[in-house]
């Protein structure tokens, strides 16, 4: 995955908080500025939360892009309704989003519902070894791809819900408009990234722009009181947005859930050892409580899990009817060129030899998240041993 995070401060105070939070060691400090190694970033947003000066920002498109199209459609993720107490509130929220300047709004719960129905069938017919993983969270998906590739074949290859909806919208409108703009309003950084840099697959991606919901929030909340609207949410689809609610939908499969990077990591490590033996399915989400806790949403994830459960009891919409063949797509991952074991052994031995020279505290004072990452850059001639402050102090 490529990053949508950018560093916006002129000068860094070198607190190293972001370095310490990044799960994939994608950040380093060079010349008093944070450098992001785009390829490594899984867009989890941990560094955004870590920086007390708001130095890290996630950027999507802006509403100015609406002007480039004859007809514009907003796709609204189910997770935003975690903030609504009643269906009427959900309807006004949706209408307010429409008033931002879209010709049409499409909320995604019916498409989520279609995926939930399909999941039921996938679980019933699975005979593979180890639990299945629902890869709806792009952070989890990217992390598995980068760090736990042995588990990739257990990730259910569903097409992202925004893409299902966008394809449906295009099919419906293509005879009427030539230039349709589809805008995915995103509840999290990783969905911004997914729309901007879609991963894998051969499909023609259907979403044109990704917008950050936090950026739009002030405008939405101003419009919200002035709207009247009707909306029929799909109950089954809503359950997908909250972890506890989701798990309660599949009691017969001993599903396990893990939310937040720490727990997700523990679950993935356990699965890699083949030790998750009692569960047939795992729900993994970067955000607390599932997508209702999305890092571009407002409010707290704990109340929102309760609110969305209550909302589910009041909604009765149908799930979308989509051909099973359109719900799945095996992603195609680009393979790095093979390197011989002899060559790898040599490289790792060289890195380990460099590491011997370093204290191994991973203190971050050199600007690298770990001693190992400094050692790697030394070998690429991009850094040197004297960057290590502890070494300097010892030799002084």
């Amino acid at each position: 995955m490529s990053t949508v995070i950018s560093y916006t401060l002129k000068q860094c105070t070198r607190c190293n908080k972001c370095l310490k939070q990044c799960p994939t060691s994608a950040l380093t400090v060079k010349d008093e500025r944070i450098v992001i190694e785009s390829k490594r970033c899984i867009n989890c947003g941990a560094c955004l939360d870590a920086c007390v000066h708001q130095g890290m920002q996630a950027k999507g498109s802006t509403l100015a892009d609406l002007e480039n199209y004859d007809y514009t459609v907003a796709l609204i993720p189910t997770a935003v309704f975690g903030d609504c107490e009643t269906p009427a509130e959900a309807a006004t929220l949706t209408a307010a989003i429409g008033k931002l300047g879209f010709d049409e709004v499409v909320e995604l719960s019916s498409y989520d519902g279609a995926l939930m129905n399909a999941l039921e069938e996938v679980l019933a017919s699975d005979t593979g070894s180890g639990p299945l993983i629902w890869g709806f969270c792009p952070v989890v998906h990217a992390w598995i791809k980068e760090t736990y590739p042995a588990l990739l074949d257990r990730v259910i290859p569903f097409v992202p819900v925004s893409e299902l909806a966008a394809a449906d919208v295009r099919k419906r409108l293509k005879a009427k408009y030539e230039n349709i703009g589809i805008f995915h309003l995103c509840e999290c950084v990783s969905k911004l990234a997914m729309a901007k840099y879609p991963y894998g697959g051969k499909r023609q991606w259907q979403v044109d722009h990704a917008l950050s919901l936090t950026d739009l929030f002030p405008q939405i909340s101003r419009l919200q009181n002035k709207c009247e609207a009707n909306l029929s949410l799909c109950r089954k689809g809503l359950t997908q947005a909250g972890m506890n609610l989701f798990l309660s939908e599949f009691p017969q499969y001993d599903c396990t859930g893990a939310d937040g990077l720490v727990k997700v990591q523990r679950a993935l490590e356990t699965m890699e050892f083949g030790q998750l033996k009692k569960s047939r399915f795992v729900y993994l989400s970067n955000c607390l409580g599932g997508c209702v806790g999305g890092n571009l949403l407002w409010g707290n994830p704990f109340d929102k899990q309760v609110k969305i459960r209550d909302l589910c009891r009041m909604t009765h919409g149908q799930s979308a009817q989509i051909e099973a063949s359109e719900l799945f797509e095996e992603p195609v991952y680009e393979k790095s060129p093979p390197v011989s074991m002899a060559q790898r052994l040599k490289e790792v031995a060289e890195i380990n030899a460099q590491l011997e020279q370093l204290p191994g505290y991973d203190c971050g004072a050199c600007g690298y998240p770990t001693c190992r990452s400094l050692a790697e850059d030394i070998l690429k001639n991009k850094s040197s041993l004297d960057k290590c402050r502890l070494r300097r102090r010892r030799s002084a």
Binding site: T147, P149, A150, L151, L152, E269, E272, F273, G274, Q275, P338, V339, S340, M341, A342, R344, L345, V348, A349, I351
Partner: protein, 137 residues
């Protein structure tokens, strides 16, 4: 590359740490995912066995261009009936182990299934388990 790690008897708090370290090393070496998965499962089960059933011992990993090999050598008390231990579900795990959630079986069949070559020798003086895997040079 050759590395040796010590494993203490009934050290449940650290059970699995050697396997984690091995897994990390194999990832750094770019071992192909399907192979990595088999090794991870086998090594983990074997390490846990050592913690639960043995008086402690050592795990050695050796890697060269063509193969990855592991030796699990403990200091006893040995497996009385290896044939029985090779049956799925066989367990001699004691109370302490069960309290930690270990010990559904010795996992030997699972280890064998997840290795290219599997060899086990046991006497009261100790058990030696050898696993090896081929890698594409």
């Amino acid at each position: 590359m050759r590395e040796t790690y010590q494993v203490q008897k009934e050290d449940f708090a650290n059970a699995g740490k050697v396997s984690s370290h091995i897994k990390t090393t194999l990832k750094q070496l770019g071992v192909e995912p399907a192979l990595l998965r088999r090794i991870a499962i086998a090594v983990y089960e074997a390490e846990i066995n050592m913690v639960i059933h043995s008086d402690g011992g050592a795990i050695t990993m050796e890697i060269d261009e063509g193969s990855i090999r592991f030796t699990f050598a403990d200091q006893g008390p040995g497996i009385a009936d290896i044939e029985a231990a090779m049956q799925p579900g066989y367990s001699t795990a004691n109370e302490a182990a069960r309290e930690f959630g270990f010990g559904a079986g010795m996992g030997l069949p699972n280890i064998q299934r997840n290795s290219d070559s599997f060899d086990i020798q046991s006497s009261p003086a100790g058990t030696i388990l050898n696993l090896s895997y081929e890698v594409n040079p």
